[in-house]
Amino acid sequence: MKESRFAFPPVLSRIVSRLPQTPPAAVLAFALDRLLFPRLPLADLEALLEQPLRIEVSDLGLRLALTLTRQGFRPLPLHVAPRLTLRAAARDFLALLRREEDADTLFFQRRLVLSGDTELGLLVKNTLDAIELEIPLLSHLHSRSVSVANRQRP
């Protein structure tokens, strides 16, 4: 069964991918520092520290390079080769953060792409799933998947 899923128009991706990616990476690092970093179990994340990571929001054309240090997240220049890359559409990243979607489900459906060091990828996935996230704003973004799920309920 094919679900219709929201995606940003391809033209946006073409434009954004030509823009400098460091400012959005810095914004992401700033946001992660405020929302995620205080809750991260750093003792379990030894293997992830100082590793170049890349998050690609496919439909937005964003390729964000960053790394996790003991002091917080830091943006990196794009030319640094990533140890781990996570790629998905904006909608699917949001659904993951809101726990509406299971990462393996998205992976089976090829909506979440993980490349590089698989062990690091699993560590990131499992650590994020284990954290109770309360992100302001996130709970107000009503994604399409929720409205579809509610309609299907008996």
Binding site: A103, D104, T105, F107, R110, N126, P154
Partner: protein
């Protein structure tokens, strides 16, 4: 009208064998908890019990970032018990000589934290638990691979097990026969991934990686797995062995050797096992009639979203099947919800259904 409903419930006038409804038990729903968020999801959606493991190779889902330490386990037990949900701890890998004290220490730790049952497979650990913690309830793990009631009677007499999880290799009639004669309660798998290698005794994984799932707790340890985007498609490799290659729009699967596609005799196909998920929703009335004590959901490696979605469906289904077994049929929205989270495009009744027999 009402009388007819009551008579129907008691199967009066039925051509099928009479059954005393007072003997019928509602099977427990046993759900996976790979982390506290999954446990919370299972409890919220009505699981009767959850199963979980420590953060090490003592259980068969030994993955980075998954599972519980002492502190999180204590909190998990408190939360589950506050909602009337029991907690089973899986300690179901086979210790090697050098790891023996690590495994027995895990048994002792679980006992002191107050889990409701230990799920064990190794005979030595069963003996240790029985001897040191005689008050602790013991379940025989699916990894124990006990498929007949004589084996269950032995585990019961020798180690006092109170429940056994049956391997996913028996037909429904064989399950019924085991349950009929078993001295202990029987738990069966209802949903999730399947294993063809005598429940984890996997010569394939051990051959490719040098690590057996039964001893190290993972079918394909992540450090041996590589995903590569190539011009031919997405390639999954396990310690260098190409185990599958997916075209751009093809669904992907777990990087397990048994579910890969291999070239055999000029054809490339799932030469060992297809990556389908077990789904026994339609068998629920029969499983209840047989008298299985519990239905287990696979998937501690998944996520809170998965546990919430699957537990919700199975809670509704078990309640509906128990209330009116003869009117029961799986609702389409249940099957849709379960198929969405399944590995592979379809589901199967696995060994439960063997029409060719």
């Amino acid at each position: 009208m009402r009388l007819r409903a009551i008579l129907r419930a008691f199967r009066v006038g039925s051509s099928r064998p009479m059954m005393n409804p007072s003997c019928m038990r509602r099977p427990e729903l046993v759900c996976p908890a790979g982390n506290p968020a999954m446990l919370k999801a299972a409890v919220e959606q009505g699981a009767d019990a959850v199963y979980l493991g420590f953060k090490d190779a003592t259980n068969a889902r030994n993955f980075n970032g998954l599972n519980f330490d002492e502190r999180s386990l204590a909190q998990a037990i408190e939360l589950a018990h506050a909602h009337g949900c029991r907690v089973f701890l899986a300690l179901n890998t086979y210790p090697q000589a050098e790891g023996w004290t690590h495994w027995t220490a895990a048994v002792d730790r679980a006992a002191s934290l107050g889990v409701d049952a230990l799920i064990l497979a190794d005979l030595g650990l069963l003996a240790h638990a029985r001897e040191r913690h005689p008050e602790l309830r013991l379940h025989l793990s699916v990894q124990g691979s006990a498929t007949n009631y004589e084996a269950l009677a032995f585990y019961h007499e020798r180690y006092g097990i109170e429940r056994a999880v049956l391997p996913r290799v028996l037909s429904l009639e064989q399950v019924a026969q085991v349950v009929r004669h078993s001295p202990v309660a029987v738990e069966v798998f209802g949903f999730g991934g399947l294993c063809v290698m005598v429940e984890g005794r996997c010569a394939l994984s051990a051959y490719a990686t040098g690590q057996s799932p039964n001893c190290h707790g993972a079918c394909s340890p992540a450090k041996f797995v590589r995903w590569d985007e190539t011009p031919q498609g997405l390639e999954a490799r396990l310690n260098g062995f190409l185990i599958d290659r997916y075209a751009p729009d093809e669904p992907a699967g777990y990087p397990t050797l048994c579910k890969g596609r291999f070239a055999v005799g000029g054809h490339t196909y799932y030469a060992i096992e297809e990556p389908t998920s077990l789904n026994t929703l339609e068998l629920l009335p029969r499983l209840i009639e047989i008298g299985v004590a519990a239905i287990k959901i696979e998937g501690r490696q998944r996520s809170a979203a998965y546990v919430a979605q699957v537990t919700r469906v199975w809670r509704e289904a078990i309640d509906a099947a128990f209330a009116a077994p003869r009117d029961f049929s799986p609702r389409p929205q249940w099957l849709t919800a379960l198929d969405r989270v399944s590995e592979g495009a379809s589901h199967t009744l696995g060994a439960y259904s063997r029409p060719w027999k």
